[in-house]
């Protein structure tokens, strides 16, 4: 036992780069290298995610610290010095003198955080329920899939709105703003688990009759262990595809809810909140407050979407 443990420990560092190399040189990696769409969208996503993660370090201003704000800087056009203070901002400032570039970086951070968390939540919930439904069968399966069917008849964004409204109603008034982000994650996650559950259940139904599952059952492994250690690894690749496409949908759903004013609060503005604020200045000519957050949201959603589409085609050769 200890011998083999030591062995893996010794080989671990050297196996790490070689595994990456295997992926790079596999069919999958080859398809990736040959697809300009995949390369570009992957680069855009990486760039946006990195700049969102690094926001506190690369943002030129802290838009949420009132001390650093100067109201005189309000409505400064992009890359032109302000008439009163002489300060210049790359993408201009909004009505309160906040640097638009910095608010976008921080807004993207919130959008991505909500998007990733919501998809993670939906994935865990959906995969668990899908595994249980597929493996257990019987009335449990009927119940889970029935609920899934019913939910699928409603558009996801409407479900998210309703859950957000209900959850907001149940939260005490004084916590509503603090909890808004978490309520948002809950709402979007709950509106999105069905896809995962359906696909995982379908794959589980196929896998559970295969020999390796029967063998595992024969040596007396428990149902939970079989689902987690044996079936789960074999049903994961479609889950990855759905997760990527769901991420794009979740980002758009979050932006939509925040735009409607029922998502991220003004104290923690996401890209959708910023667009909502910017829409107010559409007629008065301060176009930069609206344009730049919209373009950021679009490139984010579009590149994640394209990446998801490509991933679906690459992992599923039958669809090509």
């Amino acid at each position: 036992m200890t011998d083999s443990a030591r062995q893996t420990q010794v080989t671990a560092p050297s196996s790490e780069p070689s595994r990456l190399k295997t992926v790079w040189e596999s069919d999958f990696g080859y398809a990736f290298r040959r697809s300009p769409v995949a390369l570009v969208s992957c680069l855009v996503v990486l760039f946006l995610v990195l700049s969102a993660v690094m926001a506190p370090w690369i943002a030129p201003h802290d838009p949420f610290n009132p001390v650093t704000l100067n109201l005189m800087n309000g409505f400064t056009p992009p890359s032109t010095p302000n008439a009163f203070t002489g300060d210049s901002f790359w993408l201009g400032t909004d009505d309160q003198g906040r640097d638009v570039f910095s608010t976008i970086l921080f807004g993207m951070r919130i959008s991505l955080f909500v998007g990733f968390s919501a998809v993670l939540f939906a994935m865990i919930l959906g995969v668990t329920l899908g595994l249980i439904a597929g493996y257990a069968g019987g009335w449990i399966e009927t119940l889970i899939m029935r609920v899934a069917d019913v939910q699928l008849t409603f558009p996801a964004i409407l479900v998210a709105m309703l859950i957000f409204g209900i959850a907001k109603g149940f939260t005490p008034v004084e916590y509503r703003d603090q909890m808004a982000i978490w309520v948002l994650i809950l709402a979007i996650g709950l509106s999105d688990w069905v896809q995962f559950a359906r696909v995982v259940r379908g794959a589980t139904l196929v896998e559970k009759n295969k020999e390796y599952v029967q063998a595992a059952r024969l040596i007396g492994r428990s149902g939970g262990a079989i689902m987690l250690r044996h079936i789960l690894p074999n049903v994961l690749s479609p889950v990855l595809v759905i997760a990527t496409i769901s991420l794009a949908l979740a980002i758009i759903a979050e932006a939509t809810l925040s735009f409607l004013g029922v998502g991220a609060p003004p104290t923690q503005p996401s890209l959708g909140t910023l667009i909502r604020i910017g829409q107010g200045f559409l007629f008065s000519g301060e176009w930069w407050i609206l344009l730049f957050p919209s373009v950021t949201l679009l490139s984010l959603a579009l590149s994640v979407n394209l990446l998801g589409d490509w991933l679906r085609d690459a992992l599923n050769p039958r669809l090509r």
Partner: protein, 325 residues
């Protein structure tokens, strides 16, 4: 046949009861209704009296039943924010949403079928490729950005169309319509395009792929061989056979149009039910939220039931399955 219909109706009722339970729990557990109604200077006797009067001392199941029978009669209580019966507010605002939905649905169907046929017939033309690419971009654009973009182009830059509201409306009986005035019709254009665009691309893509499928069939080749004119072949023979899936998808999209109207109505400040709902979430106006929840569920469940039953009438294979299970 009858067993299948009864089972489907039963399923629908169970779904509505579940949604009703959610709506009722909102009423019952979000805040204390007594707190909402009585002021600061209340005595325990006041509280007890109101509790009995409202029936809050009765068992949960009986309260739930009372809520349901009230809802069935369209009685959802009084809006916390506006202090008027919810049913009045909703019936006042429903015409705005329904007119918007009808116009954008019509726009989506007509343009969707037209463009779908066009791109299928000229499948390698420059115009069709352009339309297909544009439709891809259109699907990835969030609805609210499309609305803002349209406002920017047609209201701010060109100053041609209004960017908010319904314009002038005329009362026809209980129905306030924007169809009869010029400003009402002009105000409909941008919201209707915004709302219908997504459904339009969906219908267009569906019609296109169905048409491509059908145009490959033998009877089309035979019709051509008979020397029929191209227009007759395309519209009388081909399009007719693509319409069954188009009708079902359009039917299912009907609910989506009403749901997505929430977004469009907010962008254009359209005084419909969707805007009412968003404001209700904003101010946690529970009676309005509960009423909207119930209404939209009834609508979706009914649409699905009708589509399922239609399938059943159209597809004989389902009938066999229905009997065997």
């Amino acid at each position: 046949m009858l067993a299948y219909v009864i089972r489907r109706v039963f399923h629908s009722i169970v779904v509505l009861l579940a949604v009703g339970l959610v709506a009722f729990s909102m009423f019952r557990f979000v805040g204390d209704p007594i707190d909402n109604m009585l002021g600061q200077e209340r005595t325990q006797a006041d509280i007890d009296r109101l509790r009995t009067q409202l029936g809050l001392d009765q068992p949960f199941a009986i309260q739930y039943w009372k809520f349901l029978s009230g809802a069935a009669e369209g009685n959802f209580g009084v809006s916390y924010r506006q202090g008027r019966p919810v049913s009045d507010i909703i019936s006042e605002r429903a015409p705005a949403t329904l007119e918007l939905a009808a116009v954008s649905g019509l726009f989506a169907i007509l343009l969707g079928i037209g463009l779908g046929v066009f791109t299928a017939i000229r499948r390698n033309g420059i115009a069709s490729n352009l339309i297909m690419t544009l439709s891809l971009v259109g699907v990835s654009l969030p609805t609210f950005l499309i609305g803002i973009l349209l406002i920017y182009v047609f209201s701010v830059e060109l100053d041609m169309l209004p960017s908010f509201g319904r314009g002038e409306t005329v009362m026809v009986g209980y129905w306030s319509t924007g169809f009869l005035t010029k400003s009402g019709l002009v105000a409909l254009i941008l919201p209707a395009i915004t709302l219908g665009l997504y459904q339009m691309t969906l219908i267009m893509r569906l019609v296109r792929s169905e048409m491509l499928e059908v145009l490959r069939q033998d009877y089309i080749r035979f019709a051509r061989a008979r020397g029929l004119r191209e227009r007759v072949v395309n519209f009388r023979h081909a399009l007719k056979n693509t319409l069954v899936p188009v009708i079902t998808v359009t039917g299912l999209q009907l609910g989506s149009i009403i749901a997505f109207a929430i977004i469009t109505e907010t962008v254009f400040q359209w005084p419909g039910v969707g805007l009412l709902f968003i404001n209700a979430i904003h101010f946690v106006d529970i009676p309005v939220m509960a009423a909207y929840l119930m209404l939209i569920s009834v609508m979706f469940v009914t649409i699905n039931l009708v589509v399922d039953l239609l399938y059943f009438a159209i597809d004989p294979r389902l009938r066999v399955d229905g009997r065997s299970t």
